[in-house]
Symmetry: C2
Subunit: 700 residues, 2 copies
């Protein structure tokens, strides 16, 4: 157990603000604690002599050896109560009282003071504005909810107290148990990262579930979740995903959340299984708690009904699992065991007249197949089939083979008892076979998380001082936006760029062109921090032959001046021609998220960036394996690999560019936004043809 061992496993809990007033929160908590808790409950309320049969104490300091103080006094005296507890040596506090950060400026001030107090005394504080916490292992129900949870191996945290109440009520009805339950409240001190870390060390927690509206410290969460998720699955609903949802969340919690894109990337990198619905949260949580992980992706379907078998096969097709291909031995054994009309290939159709024995034999054979990693037991009600006896057989076979099984015993009341027997041993059951398959697929997804190899990001040998000088010189010019004049920044970090010079005289332009392409053509672009869309104003000339370089220089400058007389013109860039036809235009970019810091982006470039949005993101720093994944993830990935007989591009060069970009933006917090567009990927390497960035001078 970790730092919160005492919080969840106290021997003595004090309710500060205990009362027997009907309908009060203080009464509900005291009563809940008295119901099942293995330890002592202490009532603290100076206005009472006795509360629900307990002696009432004037102060929490009056009773020795209190481990946890649950605070339900009115907001103005919460801080005094906590200080008193802290002085008495209590380190673990649950603040139920509301009226803090969620309600006005006085509440916000109070929350700040609570945070300071916690720091001063090194307190573990849950809340404020929390429904409380539960630990079924010691019968601890320090919440004011109407029901206590059943025992189980799932630990659940929720940023909504109401949702905790609803979930416990619903889960009790389905025999779904929890180990710990935490209502996070305002997360003034302890937040999701703390509980993830704690439960990662807790042998009684097999699965961590969370309902979150934001994450207090993005990078801390990614770090702790990444470590914990290697051994303990974490499934999270992060709400406020959509624009409408985000603004609803903001008005609900007042928190400034990071962007949805950042959360999506960060949760994935942290090894969190992110789900969108309550149904998936508990479907996935249940199967992860109840079933072993599949050793391979092949699924066997054993059914007495062909039609639903087809639907289930479709569901497998929709998932990242596959329909297992049986070995010859399995097929032969099934042929021997089943009647002629049966289908001995997967999905195994044992025919509608099958009794339980036939079902069990077919399932036994299928589970033994070396290509089978998981199985769906799929039954429709028939006269010869007893669902209860089938359930018992499935329980036994699953235990024998240790292969994950999900069940769909279709029907209503006829399936109830059987479903209960299955779910009691952790085999999930659903009316819809698609949910059974989705759940098995969640096992696969988590197996892959557990198999991930996180590599440390490489640190390349770069010219950091040169890069700093470029940024500082921009700051000296009081410029926040840089364009091609920042190509040197990329050079400093070893990102390949076409040969080029920025010149501010006609003769220099001619000279530069002669050096870069002695007899060939060049590209020329106006260089001005004030002109963003250079091509729109005719500020770019492509394929300029040797004889026209001088005139083109004059033209570009004139056009820019006409377009925007007050624009600062730094000169004209003369650049080597890059053959776009043999390459693929990609984009490599970065922006900074308030919650997660620098995010690195990769995608299809050119006009497709805007229209098709074929991009992918990572929270920096980006390791080599992450960068490689980014290349694989975009829809246009086949273009990079040489679709239609083209030569594949040099992916290694793109991968390295993303890593070097990640290093650059991590080294310089002053870089707020950066786009290399296009980054032209060719069989001979990647080249950054154009760049645009925004800097925050105060960060320099």
């Amino acid at each position: 157990m970790g730092e919160l061992a005492t919080l969840f496993g106290p021997e003595r809990v004090a309710v500060v603000g205990a009362t027997d007033r009907d309908g009060s929160v203080g009464r509900a908590i005291t009563a809940n604690l008295l119901a099942d808790f293995e330890g002592d409950v202490v009532a603290v309320n100076p206005t009472k002599d006795e509360v629900l049969g307990l002696e009432s104490h004037d102060s929490v300091g009056a009773v020795p050896d209190v481990d946890v103080a649950v605070v339900v006094v009115p907001p103005p005296i919460v801080l005094d109560a906590i200080r008193e507890a802290a002085e008495a040596g209590i380190r673990d506090v649950v603040v139920i009282t509301a009226g803090f950060g969620e309600s006005g400026s006085e509440g916000a001030r109070r929350e700040r003071e609570l945070r300071e107090l916690a720091a001063e005394y090194d307190l573990n504080v849950v809340g404020p504005n929390s429904l409380g916490i539960m630990n079924t292992g010691v019968g601890l129900n320090a919440t004011f909810g109407p029901e206590n949870a059943q025992e189980g191996s799932i630990s659940f945290m929720s940023q909504s107290g109401a949702f905790v109440t609803a979930v416990v009520d619903w889960a009790n009805d389905r025999n779904l148990g929890f180990h710990n339950v935490v209502s996070l409240g305002n997360k003034a001190v302890l937040d999701e990262s703390d509980f993830v870390r704690e439960w990662g060390e807790d042998p009684d927690t097999d699965v961590i579930l969370g309902y979150l509206e934001d994450v207090v410290d993005g990078r801390a969460f990614v770090e702790s979740a990444r470590e914990v998720s290697q051994d303990t699955p974490i499934v999270v609903v992060k709400s406020g995903r959509t624009e409408a949802g985000a603004s609803a969340a903001a008005s609900h919690t007042g928190a400034i959340a990071g962007s949805e894109e950042a959360y999506e990337a960060a949760l994935d990198q942290a090894g969190v299984l992110r789900v969108d619905t309550v149904q998936d949260l508990f479907d996935f949580g249940s199967i992860l708690a109840g079933q072993p992980l599949p050793e391979r992706d092949g699924v066997a379907i054993v059914t007495n009904a062909g039609g639903p078998g087809v639907m289930t096969t479709d569901a497998v097709g929709d998932s990242d699992l596959s329909l297992a291909s049986f070995t010859d031995e399995t097929v032969e054994r099934l042929q021997e065991a089943l009647p002629d009309e049966a289908n001995v290939y997967n999905p195994v159709d044992i025919i509608g007249d099958a009794p339980v024995e036939r079902f069990a034999e077919a399932l036994d054979i299928a589970l033994a197949d070396p290509n089978v990693g998981a199985a769906v037991v799929l039954a429709c009600p028939t006269a010869p089939l007893s669902y209860e006896v089938l359930a018992d057989a499935v329980v036994e076979l699953q235990a024998d083979h240790q292969v994950p099984v999900a069940a769909t015993l279709m029907g209503g009341s006829s399936a109830r008892e059987a479903n209960e027997r299955l779910s009691q041993v952790g085999i999930p059951t659903y009316f819809d076979p698609a949910r059974a398959v989705r759940s098995l697929d969640a096992l696969r997804a988590y197996r892959e998380i557990g198999q991930r190899e996180y590599t440390e990001p490489e640190t390349f040998d770069v010219d950091r001082e040169a890069a700093r000088e470029i940024l500082e010189s921009a700051a000296r010019r009081d410029t926040n936006r840089l364009g091609v004049e920042a190509m040197d920044l990329l050079d400093a970090y070893g990102i390949p760029t076409p040969d080029g010079d920025i010149v501010d005289a006609r003769s220099d332009a001619v000279e530069a062109a002669e050096r870069i392409a002695p007899d060939g053509e060049v590209v020329m672009k106006i260089v001005s921090p004030d002109i963003l869309h250079k091509s729109d104003i005719g500020g770019v000339a492509v394929g300029v032959p040797p004889g026209e370089v001088g005139d083109t220089y004059e033209d570009l400058v004139t056009r820019a001046r006409n377009y925007q007389p007050d624009a600062t013109i730094l000169g004209v860039q003369v650049q080597e021609m890059v053959d776009l036809d043999s390459g693929v235009e990609t984009i490599a970019g970065m922006n900074r998220d308030p919650q997660f810091g620098p995010l690195v982006l990769f995608g299809l470039g050119g006009i497709f960036v805007e229209v098709l949005e074929d991009t992918t993101l990572r929270v920096a720093p980006v390791s080599e394996s992450s960068a490689r994944e980014m290349l694989d993830e975009i829809d246009a990935a086949p273009l990079l690999r040489g679709a239609r007989g083209r030569d594949p591009v040099d992916e290694g060069s793109v991968v390295e560019t993303l890593q070097r970009l990640s290093q650059l933006v991590t080294d310089f917090p002053a870089i707020v936004e950066l786009d290399i567009n296009p980054l032209v990927a060719t069989p001979d390497g990647a080249q950054a043809v154009d760049v645009r960035l925004t800097i925050d001078q105060e960060q320099l």
Copy 2:
């Protein structure tokens, strides 16, 4: 009622093969009929005197006025039994007996004979290999399933009998009722189209649900479903969607199904709401049967719990609904009605201490808002809130406002009674608010189907004879594949092509180029039915200046000869240059589906067709409105509308090209496949730059 009025509403039903043998199908059907049927039940079995208290007759002809014969005799005597019934004047037959098309060649022969018999006597035959049919309106349960359905307004057909059994069992447990239920069996005579048509005319059927593995006659289904779906929603699971599922379906039914792409397009054009899962099938069916359609897309969420409110808002964001924006009046009324801490904007958070009265008042105000088209009632269990009383209030308010409502009363046993009250009046309830929103979104989707205006496809004035001559001349050359030499085919159907000639002499090439582009450049391509990838062998020259036309002609021919000495070379095409830079390369194509006939395709062209698969399909003929939808549907649609400051292309010209292509492939069944790639869409119109097609000479 339609042609099947007697089948579903008989006054006298005979069970041919009635028996009292324990565990037999004949006994189960006779008993089911005797249980609730309002009409007469007649037992036919020459080996018995009495069956379950009924006099047993030697033949179905022995009893007058039998309306429906349910046949359960062994396979070899089924046909005789049906002929006897037909001779006795019976027109409606349900064949329960299996052992037909689904089992071997003898069964297939038997099924053919059954079909002939039905044609001879003009019989309506359900099955064979059917579980039977139900009509709760007259208590008719002519199935051998264990349970009869409850009364309701959903009619349900299923290609799997086992699934019928499972669904009825499950639905009874949830108070979900049906009007008619049909197990389609082998669909030898009556198929899905017949039942869709029947139920479309049935005033007691509000919603049609189907589980289908294939469709017997694709075009007939599209036609009948399109008509019916204007007034009666049709929701269908068509399984065998995925590659694995399709092969499972083929081994299950033996049917050769059309392609998944064709089904997808056809079901959509037919106005069918296609769903992938059992859950959606019944969620959507229930709400369509129970709630009115929303008049607008704005959803109001009224809740006592902020967190779940955010999740629900996310679900709205995921859907094609939107979060309703309240009028000032609504906001003011909510401000008056709710405490200060409440959120009076959508989602309305009435705060955790709300009693039912506050909930009802807020819901009443929200439902009255002119921007609200539907509402989600979302509650977490709290002490002051009685779910039962809340349910009663919701029922009343929904009835008052006639706005569709879905409910999420979160919790388990605490919500059971309330959920029952709601579902009894047709207000669906779910633990997961995302399902509530999905269901409301299904109402929206169906409203849009009802609002569709189906326009007749236009018939353009084309030169059909010229087109025929081109196809026949290819047939005379014994060629199945045509390339640019078929550009004239497009011309004949008024599809714009660049100016061009096919020439077979150097001098003709020079002359053609002079005519086409007196001083400019031309494109030249080798023309050979044997060389498919012309550019790969250097068979295409772009930007040929006037002086080089002759030499280029020789070069192209030489290259083609070297590449493939035995290739038939029809000449060289000299074509006007098309400015690809100002246009968007699209593809317009066609292929022929075994089930649905010609399908017209539109998509992003060039190398993106293969990599990004950004395409959309329609079953021909394609009307103008359909063609317009196709342009809107592709991901790259913004490119057509002028992304990044480009001029929008002439969409009308592309739309007309698709319509003319549809007419061409409908007129000539011999065209098996056709691709116009690229169809260059520019601001000045669309141009078919290249074409490739495959013909089936036997169809000419």
